[in-house]
């Protein structure tokens, strides 16, 4: 399997803090890779480095063979990486379809093409009936779906999902997992930060465990959850069931 994303020795330092240190792992084409770890482990920081919101202090990130380590965020998006944010950044003054439209305008050549893509994306995320709703009126799970829709409208080959399940109840989680699987079946590789171990087990092909900014282990969900180091550092006693 060829790799769509290769992270080599990624280190990100802030003043007085090393957020990521020597992080190395790959995401294969078509894979779903989960990123887990305790709070403050450097997961979102890593995402920010990948998406170009900030840049690595050391190390490289390669996407589809291109070095994107110091690329600007908007160029990275055009190359094919889309992302969601932990707290959904919906454009509340616009309608749902307009939120998705700004994503679609990334690659579409004109408005008509963009509006078609908007419809297709809304369909995919099952938001067609909310097309003309004001984004500000959506509840949390709807906003999260809108986040994903907006990112999907940029026609990414790699999707970065940041804690999609946070704050969702069991039914909503099930819907979200289905959506993620649907997106993956379209050929989109997914890198997802998740706290909910059930979801991670269910959805990921492989899992990366980050603790204190470093990679503790990379393996299949089964390998990771039965590894003693991981259990000690992160899963603890009862953390396995809930998330």
């Amino acid at each position: 399997m060829e790799n769509i994303l290769e992270i080599k020795k990624a280190t990100k330092k802030f003043v007085g803090l090393v957020a990521n240190e020597n992080v190395t792992f790959d995401v294969g084409k078509g894979e779903i890779v989960g990123v887990v770890g305790p709070n403050g482990a450097g997961k979102t920081t890593l995402f920010n480095s990948i998406s170009g919101a900030h840049h690595l202090t050391e190390g490289t990130i390669t996407f589809k063979g291109t070095d994107i380590t110091n690329m600007k965020a908007y160029d990275i998006c055009r190359l094919g990486i889309g992302r969601t944010f932990q707290i959904p950044q919906s454009l509340t003054e616009m309608m749902v379809y307009e939120n998705v439209l700004v994503g679609a305008l990334c690659k579409c050549k004109n408005m008509d093409e963009a509006m078609d893509l908007v419809d297709k994306t809304l369909d995919l995320c099952e938001m067609k009936d909310m097309k003309y709703e004001s984004a500000g009126k959506l509840n949390v799970p709807q906003k999260k779906r809108l986040e994903i829709a907006r990112a999907m409208a940029t026609e990414p080959e790699l999707l970065l999902l940041d804690e999609t399940m946070a704050g969702l109840n069991a039914t909503e989680r099930k819907d979200a997992v289905n959506l993620i699987k649907k997106i993956n079946s379209m050929g989109v590789s997914i890198l997802t930060i998740e706290h909910n171990m059930d979801v991670v087990m269910n959805v990921s092909h492989r899992v990366v465990v980050l603790v204190s900014g470093k990679v503790l282990m990379v393996g299949t969900p089964k390998e990771v959850t039965s590894n003693q180091d991981v259990i000690d550092a992160y899963l603890g006693g009862g953390a396995k069931k809930n998330g």
Binding site: A73, Y74, C77, V102, M115, Y132, A153
Partner: protein, 333 residues
């Protein structure tokens, strides 16, 4: 462009009706004061719409647009004074200069946000004002007279009849209005709105925020410059202390915000209300040293407190349903 017109049939028909009303109105109300007032309203509409591009749609609140207003005014004044260039040409020279200046200072300036950006724009505008006050070639503190007795009225845009000014300004206002309307649902303005909403999210969907902010700044400078040029032709005399002050900058902001930020019609409504109130109170209350400005200030406070969405929001529900019909026409069309 034609497609946008077809898609927004209703709006353009409304525009035509509006133009007819605007043309007929001064024929019915034949009061010189009203004619002058209408011309001022048009100028402030243009200026408000211009500011709206960077401040309303893009959310970068500049408190220093009086600079571009002044440059527009000075360009036509000096061009006429030194080289006898007709304002019909000089206006566009002013537009180019303002846009060029916006490009130059925009790059470093637009890296700043929020209050820091606002204060920086104020500092730059004040700098500019000081430069003009001390610039002898440009008339210094005494300013420049544009009025020349034997000039051809149409060539030099100097009319004895204020109604002619009004119709010329009306033409320009409609031009700017149509440009804004066409851009309203364009990729450019959608990107500006996204930048306003959340710049990081905007970059994550492929928007080069810096590039678009500068473009918006340039466009807004160009439009405000146009307004300034027209104002100069109207007054036939300009000086830095009336044109390039913080007060003017803030009034430009007020016109757009009171009317409705980030909307097409907002600045026009704002211009109508604010200019009418300020002109009438200046004439009737001005002799009581400052009462007119007190009224203006109180009015602004009241609007800010009780109509936070701007005057446009008073027509809120009606607009929202029109917007929905408009968007389904876009998807269907």
């Amino acid at each position: 462009m034609l497609k946008t017109i077809r898609a927004n049939r209703k709006w353009f028909i409304g525009l035509l009706i509006g133009i007819v009303v605007a043309v007929m109105f001064p024929q019915i109300v034949q009061i010189r004061f009203v004619w002058n007032l209408l011309s001022l309203i048009l100028i402030w509409s243009i200026v408000g719409m211009g500011w709206n591009v960077i401040g309303g749609y893009c959310g970068q609140v500049s408190n220093g647009h009086s600079m571009f207003y002044g440059i527009g005014a000075y360009t036509v004044a000096l061009a006429a004074h030194y080289w006898k260039i007709s304002p019909w040409i000089a206006i566009w020279i002013g537009v180019l200069i303002s846009a060029g200046l916006a490009f130059l200072i925009g790059k470093p300036l637009l890296r700043l946000r929020g209050h820091v950006f606002a204060i920086s724009t104020m500092a730059i505008a004040e700098c500019c004002r000081y430069i003009f006050i001390n610039w002898k070639w440009a008339g210094g503190a005494t300013g420049v007279y544009i009025y020349s007795k034997n000039a051809n009225p149409w060539l030099s845009m100097q009319f004895k009849n204020p109604l002619y000014y009004y119709y010329v300004f009306l033409g320009f206002t409609v031009l700017v209005l149509v440009v804004i309307k066409v851009l309203d649902k364009s990729k450019f303005f959608y990107y500006l709105r996204t930048i306003k909403g959340n710049e990081t999210a905007a970059e994550s969907v492929g928007i080069n925020a810096a590039k678009y902010k500068i473009r918006a700044y340039m466009l807004s400078a160009a439009i405000v410059s146009l307004g300034g040029s027209l104002y100069a032709q109207f007054l036939l005399y300009i000086d830095p202390s009336t044109l390039m002050t913080l007060n003017i900058s803030m009034m430009i902001v007020l016109t757009a915000v009171m009317g409705g930020v980030g909307t097409v019609m907002g600045p026009i409504l704002g211009a109508i209300v604010l200019t009418t109130i300020s002109e009438y109170s200046r004439v009737y209350l001005g002799k009581f040293g400052g009462l007119d400005m007190i009224l203006y200030g109180v009015l602004v406070i009241l609007i800010v407190l009780f109509v936070p969405g701007g005057i446009v929001s008073l027509f809120g529900k009606k607009f929202a349903s029109l917007k929905r019909k408009g968007s389904s026409e876009v998807t269907g069309g």
